[in-house]
């Protein structure tokens, strides 16, 4: 009985006996490129709409409170649309274009969608909080830069400014976004506790219980190991990408 053959998949790189899959880094074909360009242009435009919506609402109201309502629908639409990106495009094409980690981006999208729907949308009372604005602004700026970065990369004409912005602005935007997210979850806690949102208790015929309040606390705690990893990964990418460009410039 070849148990180790079965377990060989469990103990992934303990043997070196698995056959290596050849990594094929060919870029996308012409049709796929066109499709990707359209997708990224649309997403850039979408987040620009959100940015403009925020500015207009701010000017109209004269204050930055409760701006969430002015961009609620496009925010939900375009943030959820990024799931499409995660499931279809990233695994197939983008690793060839952009040297970013697929898993980390996917994780980021999942956490954003969670925050958009399972926290901000679900707990109406937090929608008027200022911390919501904190992460909405961070996301908006980040996404505009990110999608235009992808667009220009696909067209093989990437202005240095965009590349610089993508790998530099995160230094401020990341912590800003994370703070907004954590504060929002924290603000939601008492309302979740009170209403028993998404929670189920014993006894019930499926013999299952789930406490959303505790779950949210665990989510908050999970930021502690995960956020620094993502942050340092981006810093590492920054050094790699921006110094590579310097060398390129020098050799020309």
């Amino acid at each position: 009985r070849n148990m180790a053959g079965a377990g060989g998949s469990r103990a992934d790189n303990g043997y070196g006996s698995q056959q290596q899959q050849p990594r094929r880094r060919k870029g996308p074909g012409a049709l796929a490129t066109a499709y990707l360009v359209i997708y990224n242009v649309v997403m850039t435009a979408g987040w620009l709409v959100i940015a403009v919506g925020l500015v207009r609402a701010y000017l109209a109201k004269g204050s930055y409170h409760s701006l969430y309502y002015s961009i609620e629908k496009p925010l939900k639409f375009f943030q959820t649309g990024a799931l499409l990106e995660g499931s279809l495009l990233i695994p197939k094409y983008l690793p060839g274009i952009v040297p970013s980690s697929v898993v980390l981006t996917a994780f980021q999208v999942m956490s954003r969608v969670f925050l958009t729907w399972a926290v901000t949308h679900s707990v109406k009372e937090v929608q008027t909080e200022d911390c919501v604005l904190l992460f909405v602004v961070a996301w908006t700026i980040t996404e505009i830069i990110r999608y235009s970065f992808y667009t220009f990369s696909l067209l093989n004409h990437l202005p240095y400014l965009i590349k610089w912005a993508r790998y530099t602005l995160f230094i401020v935007l990341y912590p800003m976004g994370v703070s907004g997210e954590l504060l929002t979850i924290y603000a939601a806690l008492p309302f979740v506790r009170q209403s028993g949102l998404y929670s189920i208790s014993l006894p019930n015929k499926y013999n299952f219980s789930f406490d959303y309040y505790t779950f949210l606390i665990l989510v908050m705690i999970s930021y502690i190991p995960i956020f620094p990893q993502l942050y340092f990964h981006m810093l590492h990418q920054r050094r790699k990408v921006l110094s590579h460009t310097e060398e390129h410039k020098k050799s020309e």
Binding site: R1, N2, M3, G5, R10, S17, Q18, L202, N207
Partner: protein, 286 residues
């Protein structure tokens, strides 16, 4: 080094030079990106000239498969008891050492314990492993998974507020019968696979159905042991009507499907005359 030296002998020599890296920890290859060489290979039969360059990779601290399984399976066995006997720290002091009024809870404990005792017996007496060891860090990951899930599902089954299955005795009896059939099936397959290596060899052979009816699943499936295992857990889910058990079953199914597909494609690659009717884990489907 002599031309007729085996890789095993080379590993032992290397270990003498570097006591830190015992043979199980050494991965020796002809090519940095290639497969690790097996102990039985003889140097002069390999594609090398008068001098050979071998690449060494440290696989990290290793632990024997038997040891791993013993630890992995003993945990759930005893953790379940903590909940079954309602240790004070589990459901609070008021419920300590009480017992459930539902017979199915006792039945579930017997089945769960039977399953893990069977696994322990198989580990000691039945399984023949081709690799002796696995990396040490895996054991922490695996134990967290098995022990964690055992605790989670035991918590609900033995809870004072547990609700027995909706269809009562009929549902429970049906589930018990399926459970026993699948356990018998799983055991039969393990024995059949073990018999393929009765001569102590470590090479792969195609398993075939024997006189035992449970092994006739080999006509349709490459890894019937996994098929039966999934069946066992589905039965247990039906018996207890408990969502955490169902979730555990789902995860087991996903994991075993991955392993079965792996195994299946390895068989296909190695044996040109591999039976074409067979699917990896579910007849005709998956």
């Amino acid at each position: 080094v002599e031309p007729n030296a085996t890789i095993r002998e080379i590993r032992l020599m290397f270990h003498k030079l570097y006591p830190r890296w015992y043979p199980a920890r050494q991965s020796i290859k002809l090519d940095p990106k290639g497969k690790s060489l097996r102990d039985e290979e003889i140097l002069q039969h390999l594609p090398v000239g008068t001098t050979a360059t071998l690449y060494f990779k440290d696989l990290g601290p290793q632990i024997g498969w038997t040891t791993v399984f013993l630890i992995e399976y003993t945990g759930p066995l005893f953790i379940y008891f903590l909940f079954y006997f309602r240790m004070p720290f589990v459901y609070g002091l008021d419920e300590r050492f009480t017992s459930s009024p539902h017979p199915v809870v006792n039945l579930a404990c017997i089945c769960h314990s039977f399953h893990y005792i069977k696994r322990l017996i198989e580990t000691i007496f039945v399984h023949r492993f081709s690799h002796g060891t696995m990396p040490l860090r895996n054991i922490v990951k695996n134990c967290l998974y098995y022990w964690g899930f055992a605790a989670w599902l035991a918590y609900y089954i033995n809870h004072p507020l547990y609700t027995p299955p909706s269809y009562g005795k009929k549902q429970i009896n049906f589930a018990v019968i399926m459970f026993l059939l699948c356990e018998a099936g799983n055991f039969s397959i393990h024995v059949a696979l073990s018999d393929l290596r009765r001569d102590g060899s470590k090479t792969r052979k195609i398993p075939y159905p024997t006189k035992n009816p449970f092994t006739w699943l080999f006509f349709f499936v490459s890894c019937p042991n996994y098929t039966y295992e999934v069946g066992t857990w589905i039965s247990f889910t039906v018996m207890t009507q408990c969502v955490p058990v169902g979730l555990f079953t789902l995860l087991c199914f996903i994991q075993m499907t991955i392993w079965a597909k792996d195994k299946h494609y390895t068989y296909l690659r190695e044996f040109k005359d591999y039976p074409s009717l067979r699917m990896p884990i579910i007849p005709f489907l998956l």
